[in-house]
Symmetry: C2
Subunit: 262 residues, 2 copies
């Protein structure tokens, strides 16, 4: 499938993924919001919903489905069982499969959570003239476990996970203002400039993703990260869960601009 | 108790209400956020939490307690059973009592929802030079059922309820911008200027609250209203519920400024 050109339209994008194309979704349907997916048995849904309410920066819930439904208000024509390019299947906290659809695994007992993703604010940063080093370097963003605990919710608890982007010092205020206007996709940074006070010993050794190089004068800026709920879920070991595979997101019909405020 | 001076401090305010003082909370602890209260059996909590997620403008959830707990993160020293000036008790959708505490009614099975309130944005409007006619006239704000349905969640459904404030035409943009920066306390208006398109036939006959007089040049501006979840609950008739009595709110330790964005 190498060489497939990304589709510009969300419907076309999802149709290709539904047909089995398994590529990372970055660059597909530019300008439309992409979302993290977490699917859980109904018996775990209350804890997840409460975890999102209590930790809105790392877990901005864009939509929650009715139990058993494969439909989301974020893309009325989509089928959540087939329209992501790749899924992960978890049993008792362990990764057991990475299929391109989950039709055979779906049941009336499942609730799907669609969670905001930093792809939306990276576009906004670029539009505002803030360079995004991980994009320039063709790497995944660097992500770290911190020493800050999320507010627990029932059986779910865990550390705040952050993503880090190097930002030129004179553009840090712009980066704060631009992302602060997008609270539904993680919002303003949670920290600027001092990794050690978040418990991060070495920026060149991220817990997830790739190391990203700093230019002269760049300062590390930390945002709450959508890996946080996955980290909490995997620590809490629900009997069954489905998520997207990292980088293989759900492409919605919602323009990024909808999540930009005033 | 007529003539009691409102306390300036949230702790003092709650201590007086805890001791039995039963006055409306408007004017008490100015500058601190006041919240609507809804308390439900655990078996109804998921539907309420989902109703809030799906309808964030009328139901901005500021905090949700652990089942059985009388504590909230919004005011760590407070006791939710005693610290509101007056409560309402509902059985099968009918109002059965209006006590000044609910100590005898509390149980391990109850979950409390603290919901943002327009008192916070009325202060912000006044600070920005926008007159608030209901305050000038010493009346409760006018509230109306609309022809817009909320997104249902499980057993909970109902119409959007709005509050209406007359705003001088040249200050409507300011009112939109000021409240748009406060999404956790209902945010920007949902409609401006055309009551009939919301299904409101006569502004002088509100469904809740008092009629409010217009000055020459005032335009009706409509915001999503915290009465919406109560309307949905009463229509859905849960076996048991506790709420605040209208106007007798929960006074938190959170400064209003925390809910004002950039």
């Amino acid at each position: 499938m190498t060489g497939t050109l990304p589709a510009a339209d969300p419907t076309d994008t999802r149709a290709q993924f539904r047909a089995g194309l398994a590529l990372p979704s970055s660059g597909w349907a530019p300008g439309f919001t992409q979302a993290n997916l977490v699917v859980l048995p109904r018996e775990w849904a209350y804890d997840m919903l409460l975890f999102g309410q209590r930790n809105p920066q790392p877990v901005p819930l864009l939509d929650v489905t009715d139990a058993g439904s494969v439909r989301t208000a974020l893309a009325p024509g989509a089928d959540l069982r087939t329209d992501l390019p790749r899924y992960r299947v978890w049993r008792d906290g362990a990764l057991v499969d990475e299929p391109t659809d989950v039709v055979d695994l779906w049941s009336e007992d499942l609730v799907a959570f669609l969670i905001g993703c930093s792809f939306s604010f990276e576009t906004a940063l670029l539009d505002a003239g803030v360079p995004v080093r991980n994009i320039e370097q063709g790497r995944n963003v660097s992500m770290y476990r911190t020493n800050r605990a999320c507010r627990p919710a029932g059986r779910l608890s865990g550390p705040l996970v952050v993503s880090m982007r190097p930002v030129p010092g004179h553009l840090v205020p712009t980066a704060v203002q631009v992302t602060g206007r997008m609270p539904q996709v993680h919002g303003a940074p949670v920290h600027v400039g001092s990794p050690s006070s978040l418990g991060i010993a070495d920026l060149s050794r991220p817990d997830f993703g790739d190391p990203v190089e700093f230019d002269e004068g760049d300062v590390p800026v930390f945002w709450a990260c959508g890996v946080t709920p996955q980290a909490a879920l995997m620590a809490s070991r629900p009997p069954f869960a489905i998520t997207h595979a990292p980088g293989f997101m759900f492409v919605t019909d919602v323009p990024d601009a909808v999540y930009r405020q005033l």
